[in-house]
């Protein structure tokens, strides 16, 4: 259509834009005009590459739901300012000016929290017109200092998140095109903030001083004109300014290399939390002294006073800058924003109080535990940057050192030349990737871990081939004589162990993300069971290898019967896994038996069978042969003949209980593991009872139904038996 039109239209050359070497500028308006005559409503001219994305990106102009332009109140920041949308000073009445400044501060806090929670910077913090024109506020020291520290803080947070690259699919977070993040002099934001804080402290002291002393301070101008409110406003401002100052300090000290600023950061975190408490408590005063605010909907307000803040227009940026969807977003309430910051600070405090455990196992346990409280993006980004700096753990230990330690090799191994082998270098990179992935949100984490399994499998195979190439058949080499062989053997074993650990994490995260439906629990527990078996096997072998080393060293010195006895004990780490294995196996068999005896409803699907659902859920594990020789058929074989009567005779839950009890004594110094074992014991006990009830009463009472819930453990289900 466009081609036809072009033939008839003379395209005059425009002189206003000079032509380049390869280009000639032409005015296409006549062409378009004539093409429009051919088009009917709803038609369009498009190229071959017009796809769904293009179709969905099309806007219907003047439709307020699509056309962000017509939602705007102002066409430009200047127009908004000319119309008095962001006056400086906010009011000539100094009391009103202070009130309004506090409202701006509060609304900015709400905007900042909303941004951290995943909305764009342009639609949240930078909906503040004062922030968009850094120089305009310079005559208003209070507002100016606050705006500066906000811009500097945003910049620091963006840098943490973009350096960590944990922003996952939330790339909105770091988008700041066109926003004035670098106000002139923002880097000195703290000195101005300190000066303003100092002035207000003096004003506070002045108004609290007895009248006799007040004369001395008379040259001090009060903050505002209503002396009855002076103390309240000074205090409300001080806690807000101090929070900003210490929060900025938290962010900068946490970024110091090798975790050197963590202790200092903790002090600032503590101050931040107490200042937030003061901010929270200032709301009674601010509400009572603000005029014209009603109590309705106070929960949803974005300021402590309940007043609408002056100087914000979220629609301005829709037209002017960084990507903002047309749809208006809901800013978190001021109360929710404070709650968000308290949680963030607690999460950061957990990171700062971490002991920088040199063992990888300790790191993994810490990260998994940390993730249980579902920390938000900013906290997770900080953790990631702490763990991996310059390709080293905490910026201190090289990955090869970390790996040799994890593979229970003697300390000297970390300097061995074999670390230059390309596969060991790649393995180090895999460990780094794994640590980074473990810091991401659960949904993203699971997907990345699933994909990563393949890489771990491949590196295992490559290392094994490299090992065989270099040393031929293992049996032909006297082990003690070749340290390099030992390094290979230990690391190969550890790679397997780590792969199964990732696989178990992948499976378990599915529960947290609610990816499994109750009809799939049986196959999921079965898979967890087979993976944990392999994991415990590898862990056991690794421990044995360690003891081997220890034994040989100690042989000459001491050979007491006590040592021999210790050797035969199952290591606690293995016991810890064994009770989980029993629980997973017990749940698999119980679910299978219930199904086989028609005590849980099995619906048939019209389009596929259990086999397809098995293939889909475990596709990534199966592709990576984790574990080897495991398939839907092996699942069917091990569950088809499950019956309640046999389960009662051989009760897996009782084993789980017994082993958990035994393991507890070894973990008296590890509260996290102890808590986990206690939960396992509880689930095992409940399920053991449920199993007995069902097998005794079930046959006589057909209304008896079993269902499963997660009341005692996040992923080991507890059976609930009820009459339906």
């Amino acid at each position: 259509m466009a081609d036809d039109a072009a033939a008839e239209v003379f395209v005059p050359e425009r002189t206003s834009i000079p032509s380049g070497d390869d280009s000639v500028w032409a005015d296409v308006s006549p062409l378009l005009e004539s093409a429009c005559k051919d088009l009917r409503d709803g038609e369009l001219i498009h190229g071959d590459n017009f796809n769904l994305f293009a179709a969905m990106s099309a806007l219907e102009i003047m439709d307020p739901k699509m056309d962000s332009g017509i939602v705007c109140k102002y066409y430009s920041i200047d127009e908004a300012i000319e119309n008095g949308a962001a006056p400086v000073p906010i009011s000539i009445n100094k009391t009103v000016d202070v009130q309004c400044t506090i409202d701006i501060m509060d609304h900015l806090l709400a905007c900042e929290a909303t941004w951290h929670k995943g909305h764009s910077l342009a639609q949240t913090v930078f909906s503040c017109i004062y922030l968009l024109r850094p120089d305009r506020t310079s005559s208003h020291a209070l507002l100016h200092s606050y705006c500066r520290v906000i811009r500097a803080t945003c910049k620091a947070v963006i840098s943490v998140v973009s350096d960590a690259r944990t922003h996952e699919e939330d790339d909105l977070f770091t988008m700041a095109y066109g926003l004035p993040l670098d106000g002139d002099g923002d880097e000195k934001c703290l000195s101005l903030l300190n000066a303003v804080e100092e002035t207000i402290s003096r004003q506070l002291r002045a108004c609290k001083a007895p009248s006799s002393r007040r004369r001395v301070l008379e040259d001090m101008e009060p903050l505002q004109t209503n002396l009855d409110l002076e103390e309240g406003y000074c205090k409300a401002l001080l806690c807000r300014l101090r929070f900003r100052k210490h929060f900025y300090h938290v962010l900068t000290s946490m970024r110091r290399p090798q975790g050197r600023g963590l202790e200092l950061a903790r002090k600032h975190i503590a101050t931040c939390i107490s200042e937030l408490d003061c901010i929270y408590r200032s709301s009674d005063f601010l509400r009572s002294s603000a005029c014209g605010t009603s109590e309705d909907g106070i929960e949803n307000r974005t300021t402590a006073s309940g007043c609408q803040p002056i100087g914000f227009d979220a629609s301005l940026n829709c037209r002017l800058s960084a990507p903002t969807p047309p749809r208006a977003i809901k800013i978190l309430s001021w109360k929710k924003a404070i709650e968000y910051f308290v949680k963030l600070l607690h999460d950061l405090d957990i990171i700062c109080s971490y002991s920088l455990d040199p063992s990888l196992e300790g790191v993994l346990q810490f990260v998994v535990q940390f993730q249980k409280s579902q920390p938000d993006l900013v906290a997770r980004a900080h953790l990631q940057l702490l763990l991996v700096q310059d390709g080293k753990l905490y910026g201190r230990d090289s990955m090869f050192t970390v790996i040799t330690r994890a593979a229970v090799l003697p300390e000297v191994a970390k300097n061995h030349d074999v670390q230059k082998n390309e596969y060991f270098v790649q393995l180090g990179q895999l460990v780094i990737n794994m640590l980074k992935i473990l810091c991401t949100n659960a949904a993203w984490q699971r997907r990345k871990l699933g994909k990563m399994l393949q890489d771990w499998r491949v590196i295992y195979v490559q290392l094994e081939i490299a090992f065989r190439k270099e040393f031929g058949e293992v049996s032909s080499i006297p082990e003690d004589e070749n340290f390099c062989v030992k390094i290979f053997q230990h690391i190969l074993l550890w790679v397997e162990e780590q792969t199964y650990w990732i696989a178990s994490r992948f499976l378990i995260l599915g529960f947290e993300l609610e990816l499994y439906s109750p009809s799939e629990y049986c196959m999921v527990y079965w898979y967890i069971y087979v993976v944990l078996i392999k994991l415990s096997e590898k862990t056991h072998l690794k421990m044995a290898a360690k003891n081997d080393t220890g034994k040989r060293k100690g042989k000459k010195k001491r050979d007491s019967p006590k040592d021999v006895a210790r050797e035969y004990r199952i290591p606690p780490a293995v016991l810890f896994l064994q009770c989980q294995i029993c629980l997973a196996e017990g749940l698999t068999m119980m679910l299978a038996a219930l199904r086989n005896e028609h005590m849980i409803l099995q619906s048939r699907n019209p389009f596929n069978t259990e086999q397809e659902r098995f293939i889909q859920h475990f596709e990534l594990l199966q592709k990576a042969c984790i574990p080897d020789h495991v398939s839907f058929h092996s699942f069917r074989e091990s569950t088809t003949y499950a019956r309640l009567s046999t389960l009662v005779m051989y009760n897996y839950f009782k084993d789980a209980q017994r082993i958990a009890k035994e393991a507890k004594s070894s973990f008296s110094n590890d509260p996290d593991k102890l808590a986990e074992l206690r939960k396992i014991e509880q689930v095992a006990e409940h399920n053991s009872i449920a199993l007995n009830v069902i097998s005794r009463v079930g046959a006589l009472d057909p209304t008896l139904k079993a269902s499963f819930e997660f009341s005692h453990h996040p992923y080991f289900a507890t059976a609930v038996v009820k009459r339906s």
């Binding site: 769904l52 179709a55 219907e60 949904a443 699971r446 609610e514 990816l515 048939r604 596929n608």
Partner: protein, 206 residues
């Protein structure tokens, strides 16, 4: 990108409508487009441009269906299919049943018809996204054999996560006797007898 507040509806008190009174029609041309558009627009706050609708119904008219009751359009399904990486997959883009008609198996019937065409056209799997809070849709697709393959963090602009749901068709050579192929009619009536919450949902972000 888009969310709907789902109200759980039960079959109670709605039995006056006979399933046989609902007429299912394959997308028949431009005259159906306003019906599809108004139904989807009505249920969802975020609009699609007309090009989005046309993209689907022009390229895959055989995958779109409308449900009528006494001449009134009460539900619709819009889909596509194509090569995705190494698989040929179907995608359910929009499924809507207006409120008074939910809970009667209409959505199940609409989506079942689309899935059948996809299967017959050689699709290996079918996917879609649904909000984690949309219990009705999740139950419906669960009954059809979809699994929750992934959770998509804050998939929708309102901050709600989505599930990517997937239905894998059995490999014909591995599985000669399919319940669906073996007895199509039985599975239909079977669906209609299960009391379930109908849902309407637009699966977005394509």
């Amino acid at each position: 990108m888009e969310r709907k507040n789902e109200e759980e509806e039960t079959e109670t008190g709605k039995s006056e409508l006979d399933a046989s009174q609902i007429e299912y029609v394959s997308y028949g041309g431009e005259h159906h487009l306003p019906l599809v558009m108004s139904l989807v627009d009505q249920e969802l706050s975020e609009p699609y441009s007309i090009f989005t609708y046309r993209y689907f119904v022009y390229l895959w008219p055989q995958l779109s269906f409308l449900a009528f009751h006494n001449g009134k359009c009460v539900g619709t399904v819009v889909c596509k299919m194509g090569q995705h990486r190494n698989t040929f997959r179907g995608y359910i883009a929009m499924l809507v049943v207006i409120k008074p008609y939910r809970g009667k198996g209409i959505a199940t019937e609409l989506v079942t018809r689309s899935i059948k065409v996809m299967m017959e056209s050689g699709c290996e799997e079918v996917t879609l996204e649904a909000e984690v809070t949309n219990k009705g849709a999740l139950a419906l697709y669960g009954r059809l054999g979809f699994i929750r393959a992934k959770r998509l963090f804050r998939y929708y602009l309102n901050g709600v996560d989505a599930f990517r749901l997937k239905l894998l068709f059995p490999c014909p050579e591995l599985y000669p006797s399919l319940p669906m192929i073996a007895n199509k009619d039985e599975s239909h009536s079977h669906n209609d007898h299960i009391p379930h919450e109908e849902c309407c949902e637009l699966h977005h972000h394509l």
